[in-house]
Symmetry: C2
Subunit: 162 residues, 2 copies
């Protein structure tokens, strides 16, 4: 792996050989809690994306063969996203597709796995597969890093609540 950016907690890696991005992050909560925050829409809208956005979910059918659609809004405008849920494997794995409405022919396949580290901790690993390295690099340069870092900070806060 090259092009690795390491924050205190998130690792974002672009594979030199494949059109993929791998994101690894640990959480102080068990897999069931981290998983739940990915499939329940009322929880998802509280953490997904950078700080200061509002998220309107217009469809959310988090089951194998279901789909989703939402809009992120900030002072600069709105950004629509949609996709389908290929597989929801409770507490273990989510596979979904992802498209930014502004680039309607760009599709990404995302696999998230929830690894139990014991002691109430989870390692979340996300693999995003693009159709081309150019598409992958465009996503990387779009500011996705801010959304990931801040989104996972918001997820930390949500998981710490109970």
């Amino acid at each position: 792996m090259t092009s690795t950016t390491t924050h205190p907690e998130v690792t974002i890696s672009a594979d030199p050989e494949l059109p993929t991005i791998e994101i690894v992050r640990e959480f102080d909560a068990p897999p069931a809690a981290v998983f739940r925050a990915h499939v329940e829409p009322e929880l998802v809208k509280r953490w997904l994306g950078p700080r200061g956005l509002t998220m309107d979910i217009t469809r959310w059918d988090a089951q194998t063969g279901g789909g989703y659609r939402y809009v992120h809004r900030d002072d600069n405008g709105e950004y629509g996203f949609y996709g389908s849920f290929h597989e929801i494997r409770p507490d273990e794995r989510i596979v979904q597709t992802f498209t930014f409405v502004g680039i309607p022919d760009g599709v990404c396949l995302e696999t998230m796995t929830f690894e139990d580290l014991g002691g109430g901790r989870t390692r979340l690993r996300g693999l995003s597969v693009f159709e081309t390295k150019e598409g992958r690099d465009m996503a990387l340069s779009s500011g996705m890093e801010v959304g990931i870092v801040e989104g996972y900070e918001q997820l930390d806060e949500l998981l710490a609540e109970k």
Copy 2:
């Protein structure tokens, strides 16, 4: 592109740089007819896969954010498949995911485009993106070629009916 296999009508190409397979095939029918044969389950089951199989579709919700599930059966046994429809763009484009139940962690992202060649003809282009080249090569060596060649022959026959 290398590893190209050319039949009288189908071209199957494995990209040397990316974990993809491209399949190109022309049909003597307009895009709307070829598209329809991909989304209506009663038509799909008449052509998809190699000759001599029966196809039981247990779910088929061919809309953006929908899903599907089916079983192919022959004398040797049964083979389950499922996936989600990321996008259904009528007469133009279908993006879907695909998993063979026997390899539950293997996922493929498939984009089919229906290009109007004029004169009632269509060029169908399918791009399958795998997570790794190993996964792609495993699919290639699984006998998928027979299913594609014979399936598209059966689709020719179906399209010639009306």
